[in-house]
Amino acid sequence: MASLTLPNHYLPTLLRPHSATNPSSQNLPLPSTPPNSHFFGLKLSHSAVSSIPSSSSLKPSIFAKVSKGSKPPNFTLKDQNGKNVSLANFKGKPIVVYFYPADETPGCTKQACAFRDSYEKFKKAGAVVVGISGDDPSSHKAFASKYKLPFTLLSDEGNKVRKEWGVPGDFFGSLPGRETYVIDKNGVVQLVYNNQFQPEKHIDETLKILQSL
């Protein structure tokens, strides 16, 4: 399968993900199947070719951007109840980790509600859904209770995990990216889906892949 990482020559300059603070989010200028519109819905798949490390990178730990086929690094973050939750807790079952910009913003609300509304389908597939943003646990608690979200929201304060996983931002990093990872029961990433302005599509794409696992 062709490897592609948001090819520069295809996207308008303005819409390229930033790489200022994250040298590991490299762009390989390879041809891609054109998406319907700009940066709405880009499936990132990475096969044998891995990211080329930047010569300016000083932190080897963020070299390995999480991509399809790789095993993501573990993390331990606080959930909406202040409890520590680790990725390792979910070993043995598929997990959907979705990074979103912030609680109580229109796109994120649509996305959370869409995950909530399809939650039975995720449960049926035996999958766990986890949302991660930079908001603190109290913000997550209010957000989850307002919209009756049945899944875990984790606080990635300082956006450490976001940077570790290499989640690309939008508009030169002005906006935290909206990216979803589907990790199978063996802990291997099977899908990386990025779409800032069509949040409901994340649910469709992840369900599709879960059904095939």
Partner: protein
């Protein structure tokens, strides 16, 4: 059986001549009305079964509140909707500025014998004016309040417009346009006097002209087909002026689309590609400020629905 809309106001209601004329032929109307501070509309059935309309104003004292011009419901013949000489002066200044700019453009085009470039520049001005109107409208609708420096009064006016959209159709011409005419005079007159390039003047003249008259196009977009001049309706249907349908969509919750009010040509693109949502998100992450359209509309924003009989009964 009639449905009767009642207003809570004191029954002192003197008027001499109160005639509604189409917006293009403004006439001065003198009315003096005294009202209480707040009004709400109630639809109720008359108590008697006969066909005579019985208006029973009820005096229900409201808690005393400080009311500014923007917060009280404007009556049809409200003084605040009429043009003053100051308004007319600003509109005249604005139009003069435009004429100078366009005159420079035509004169320059004749001298240099170039026509395509100034005409193209004028067209670009027309197209970009629509975009500019949308961005400005989005900013005013979503950020700031009446205490914001320079544009505070405008923000309040826009809020009032969302609550009583029909008022704009009752506003006299110079009253409606004077603020934009003033802005155009200050920004464009220096350019018009200093720059003699016909292409630049073509762009500037048409751009600022469209911006200045955007309030008129906006008022027409709130009009009804039967009351608008046929030429205006034709231009709206041709997509050269913002259509009534498109603009009506802006006045429905969540009030976050169809911001452009010159031709509306940019609305579909901007809404489809969530351009304003993107800008709102970036601004939120940079400044922490949430736009108004993200929250449930506050009561000051929600349109006060009226029945036609209510307007007639005034």
């Amino acid at each position: 059986m009639y449905s009767l809309t009642q207003h809570k106001y004191t029954p002192i209601f003197h008027y001499q001549v109160c005639k509604i004329r189409p917006l293009l032929h403004p006439s001065r109307v003198y009315c003096s009305i005294t009202t209480t501070t707040t009004t709400t509309t109630i639809i109720s059935k008359p108590r008697t079964n006969d066909k005579s309309l019985v208006i029973e104003p009820r005096l229900i004292p409201e808690p005393l509140t400080v009311v500014t011009t923007g917060n009280h419901r404007p009556m049809i013949n409200d003084q605040s909707l009429q043009s003053t000489w100051s308004h007319r002066a600003w509109v005249a200044a604005g139009c003069t500025t435009l004429l100078i700019s366009l005159g420079e453009s035509i004169k320059g085009a004749m001298d240099l014998n170039i026509w395509i470039e100034p005409i193209l520049a004028s067209w670009v001005g027309y197209i970009l004016a629509d975009l500019g109107s949308g961005v400005y409208h989005w900013a005013i609708d979503n950020y700031g309040d009446d205490s914001t420096p320079i544009v505070g009064a405008q923000i309040e006016a826009f809020q009032g417009h969302h609550k009583w959209p029909w008022t704009i159709t009752r506003r006299q011409f110079a009253n409606n346009l004077h603020a934009l005419a003033r802005a155009v005079t200050f920004t464009v007159l220096p350019i018009a006097l200093v720059c003699h390039d016909p292409i630049v003047q073509g762009f500037v003249g048409v751009f600022s002209g469209c911006i200045m008259f955007s309030q008129q196009f906006h008022a027409w977009a709130h009009g009804t087909k039967s009351r608008l001049p046929p030429l205006v309706v034709a231009l709206q249907e041709a997509g050269m002026l913002v259509s009534r349908l498109q603009h009506a969509a802006h006045h429905r919750p969540p009030y976050n689309n169809n911001y452009c009010i010159v031709s509306g040509v940019w609305n579909e693109f901007l809404d489809k590609h969530k351009v304003f949502e993107a800008m709102e998100m970036v601004l939120y992450f940079k400044t922490g400020v949430r736009p108004r359209s993200w929250s449930e509309p506050a009561s000051e924003w929600i349109e006060e629905i009226e029945t036609p009989s209510q307007i007639q009964a005034q």
